[in-house]
Symmetry: C2
Subunit: 428 residues, 2 copies
Amino acid sequence: MSPGGRWDARIDLVSQRPVPSHSGLPTVTMIGGGQLARMTHQSAIALGQCLRVLAGSPSEPAAAVCANVVLGSHNDLDDLLRAADGAVALTFDHEGVPLEHLRELESRGVAVRPPSQALQYAQDKLLMRRRLAELGLPVPDFVDLGGDADVAREALIAFGEAHDWQIVVKAVRGGYDGRGVWLIDGDADAALAVFDGAAGSAEGTAVLMAEQKVSMARELSAMVARSPHGQGAAWPVVETVQRAGQCAVVLAPAPGLDAEVAQCAQQMALRLADELGVVGNMAMELFETTDGELVVNELAMRPHNSGHWTMDGCVTSQFEQHLRAVLDYPLGDTSPSAEITVMANVLGAQEVPAMSMDERLHHLMARMPDVKVHLYGKDERPDRKVGHLNIVGRPGQTIDDVRERAERAAHWMSHGEWTDGWDLHADE
Amino acid sequence: MSPGGRWDARIDLVSQRPVPSHSGLPTVTMIGGGQLARMTHQSAIALGQCLRVLAGSPSEPAAAVCANVVLGSHNDLDDLLRAADGAVALTFDHEGVPLEHLRELESRGVAVRPPSQALQYAQDKLLMRRRLAELGLPVPDFVDLGGDADVAREALIAFGEAHDWQIVVKAVRGGYDGRGVWLIDGDADAALAVFDGAAGSAEGTAVLMAEQKVSMARELSAMVARSPHGQGAAWPVVETVQRAGQCAVVLAPAPGLDAEVAQCAQQMALRLADELGVVGNMAMELFETTDGELVVNELAMRPHNSGHWTMDGCVTSQFEQHLRAVLDYPLGDTSPSAEITVMANVLGAQEVPAMSMDERLHHLMARMPDVKVHLYGKDERPDRKVGHLNIVGRPGQTIDDVRERAERAAHWMSHGEWTDGWDLHADE
């Protein structure tokens, strides 16, 4: 490519405040004001930019820290257009933007990244399953439960019986963090109740599908990034530990993973990103079966919880990489900076502790000066992701040690209790 | 200390935009909207906060990225009070705030950190020299050139002759990045011209001092942080390479520095921070003499250019540490994450290159995917610090290799020229 003039001079900004781009560096818009946008903004700052965020309120995690906020809804085309105006690229903190809006933005020349053509597979699990199966990637057996309700109910019964009701029923759209996923575990009545409930829902539009339950040893995530130019980069494959359907812990790299299996997962993810035309990050969530095989579970096309460890454990964090990719900058080095990094989410306790978050942070820092804390500025609610923390292992430390410390630190931050029984007042 | 209630509930914010602190975490105000505040904001985000910045204009490096900006002047007491209102601590991106304003803020209960009692030594080089000499720390011979002009002129002549005019004349206040420092190098007439120029200046208030020029092997920096609680933490001692009086390169840790000398420098800095009652970061700039002795040169009480390497090369960056210190949080781990890290400043070229900064960044990323770039969003002007970059060395790499790459990358970013003659178009 020829140097000079990749984008024209300075960017016109559409925001509540004057934020001139003195450096002539580009502006990227992210739709959604959550923690992913918040952390992307940290990386944008290093690149000489300010992320522009479309947020629903000024108190959302990204809006609360970012100078360039457009208030509005991701369901409103006008709001999307306002947020996109003058930005070099438009990208996402979540999968919720209606596909027809994205197509309209594209038709008006907005650089939607990933493009709607790719993003539809992250929005629609049935479409994704079909495409993956077409491409020959390993997916569990599945069945479409849309269309005529009676036909679909028969299809569910046939599918359930064929798999001894060891199946999972899923909402085709909109599920996340365990929502929209029902583990049936042999109970035919439960499956039918889920189906009948969805069919009888107010709008009757909650389209479902069912999948064979995989005999799973553990869950893995293969994260990659891809630029419009076609460059791809893969981070080490990690193990993700889920609790109640939510990611709780990430072990990077996945302990004891066969090198060939890891490479296979990376190659599948890179190939898929290329086939789908993904731009930006893509997380491919995988099951490692008890037979040592890989099966693709979910796809996300954005920064992802399974990549938070890269903020402290890799040369290039997933947030910087996502920006590089959507800007068509060359991608950064994905090498880990240590042999082991463990990420643990801070998930809101069932009862918010009496001790303030600030005070808990104080005690955590006193006890573990090497923990890297990332808080999202959110109110605490049960099971809500309010932050995460990373511990980068040192030479000689085992994965078990680092994991125990990370989980102990995260539990302290959410519950105000030390899981090893350490007593704050023992020396008083 | 007892847990709970370190600060009362939520913070009232004084800003142009509503930024509720949903997490109940504290707000810190930084006076000055430059790059140090910009990078402190990045660390504030991770701690669940939003830095509040007092900036002169919305386009200053920190104001352009931060949601909580108070526009005003650091010379105006009312503006300072507005910026301080409701914040847990007030700290600085530069040394320019008048001491009388700081004392007034303190008398009104604002937690000024570092306190005026400490900060005065970073503002006034003569006061600093006297205090260091009192404390028995190694300083060059020096003389006060304030007071009656005729008496001071005689003092300068006597001091110059005693040192063969191997002296340095300095402005007592306000100098930085080589400004306010005159290397005399044996030329008595030059020294007297500086003196007469200052004495005859418009206000006649440019107070000068002179120091013996030290026979210097190299410059070092010992950075520490100290909390109000009295905890101190030292980063590894680094070598700073100056060009035209400005920091150009930092080698971390200082190559080949005797372990005992390094420890001595750290202990001097920790002791001094304690004696002066510093809160936050303190950089002690040192000369290593040709005899292997250490002499204290300057002090800064804030994040400092010699600590930028910690952003990518240490467990705890200087920006996070400064926040932890001014908040009286326990300090973070200062261990380096690699054996070698090199920082190089991106200093504006005499002529801004035709190729845009964006395009230069693109090419840099293509050639060096492991470089960590930190751009400040500033217009390019000759010698202006517009960014810096870090390269974290890998096992087996030498300091010379890493330094050459870092300097090559920084020169590319400022000049749009590769110092190794690499030709962009060679393959076209």
